[in-house]
Amino acid sequence: MTAIARFRQAAARVRDHDLWHDFTASKIAVGAAAVTAAIVLAALFAPWITPQNPFDPAELDLLDAFTPPVWAEGGDWRFVLGTDDQGRDLYSAMLYGARISLLVGFASVLLAASIGVTLGLVAGYAGGAVDAAIMRVADVQISFPAILVALLIDGVLRGILPRDRHDELALYVLVFAIGASGWVQFARTVRGSTLVEKNKEYVQAARVIGVGSGAIMLRHILPNAMGPVLVIATIGLAVAILTEATLSFLGVGVPPTEPSLGTLIDIGQDFLFSGEWWIVVFPGVLLAALILAVNLLGDWLRDAFNPKLRGGVAR
């Protein structure tokens, strides 16, 4: 079979799938996916579609600082959405900022999912004391909001690491703090699915022919528990992006030399009173659009996979 034929076959399979029908039938889902894709692509290709690199001090000119958007008085076509206090083009800074926001978001969800899925599989499959121990920790952690847990982890790492090391590692610290604060939902869901799946015939059959526990968990149970994981990961992405933005806004996230969307809003807040509203409003709108789109996508995915699975929304 040629590669093209194989591709056609795969495309046909996608087209015939229930999920695809559900998807194209829902205007909201298509719209949300389009907005998400547009922002992700724009962030990905930021270096090629922006007039300047906002992280490179050589390209910035302080004389350009506080230029308003083009349609306002004093606007300049070089800076469509205006500039910030450093003379950074806001449009460029926003796309580069979205890059960092998305990077931290995806990385923390990946971390949270890895921790959560592993612990959930082990808890569900092993049962007994292991299960009890893992789920008690999960119970305690989930009774505190994720942002508080992330703040605390960040604060502790700040106490342990020397100051300059911390700035260097800020992104990793952030990913670790957000990821470690979000594993519980994954663990609970995967544990639930594991409890159901492990008593089914195919798992028993695998056990009878001597497949090891690890292989059973990874190759047999996990694929059947992935649906809800995808849903939680999508909603988790919205939460992670929001948490990153909040932490950066609070001044404990990424360093201001490489601002994310939250950092830009934090910087802009200082100039609210002197009338430079655009520095804070545009990054905020982009951030809200991104979170709203991902949230809607997650909502749709949840309903599509399982109408009964009603749960939390991103905060």
Partner: protein, 330 residues
Amino acid sequence: MIALVLRRLLQSVVVMLAVALIGFTLFRYVGDPVAQMVGQETSLEERAALRDELGLNDSVVVQFARYVGDIAQARFGISYAIDRPVAELIAERLPATLELSLVAALYALLVGIPMGVYTALHPARLLSKAFLAVSLVGISLPTFFIGILLILVFGVWLGLLPTFGRGEVVDLGWWSTGLLTASGWKSILMPAFTLGMFQLTLIMRLVRSEMLEVLRTDYIKFARARGLSDRAVNFGHALKNTLVPVITVTGLQLGSIIAFAIITETVFQWPGMGLLFLQAIQFADIPVMASYLVLIALFFVAINLAVDILYHVVDPRLRIDRGTGAGQGR
């Protein structure tokens, strides 16, 4: 019932001990407490003496027990950054945070419940759809961005409301309140709105879905068949039965409100505990961080306990196996 209360009480104590252990670990092992207390010129002997005096050479178990004893008596240690007792700092900041949280919670309840009832009773009306759309935006807009937009519109452009601080406060001896002065009320409007926004949408959606469910039940049909007025059915029968979960969730959310006040307090420079905690994180001020953690945990555990017990008092159908699942939807 007594067995249940005792069991939940025991669980709460275990959780508190676990949190205290985290607080103790932070206190004892993140940074060196002695190095934080003395200057550069202190000799090694003096440091060793201080170590001994502080009991840092005792066994870990003894130190932990002493720590638990200390926090039980509200002796939280001395802040590294400000050099004042942490208990004093917290006592100063507590009223501001609690007032803000209570006003925000009340606002969320008083606005959210009617909005939820309306959207459930008239699902097809334009206003209902508008409410739902607004709630979706309200959930997706980051809290701090809502606050900033409010400051921009009402503070900077219109100049109607103060943008930072609590306004004039009245000192009642052990409690300072901003709710007795006009400037205090003006100052609390925007922060409370910002902080309550998410809870409002949550309550609205909860009331709506519960109400829709209740309206489908048989006893509502029978009430209508008996010829009761719409008002009696909707409010006397339906709403009454949706309020149990609403009370629970609101109770549990009260803890989150206090925690999320960190963000709102930063935006509006509200002199509460959240701002204190955030500054502590920036300066790695471990005693303040650890104490805030213990205190917030105490709030959470106490609220959880109260709500759980209340739940069982209000709804006798619930037994222990469902009791722990309540309010953990998020």
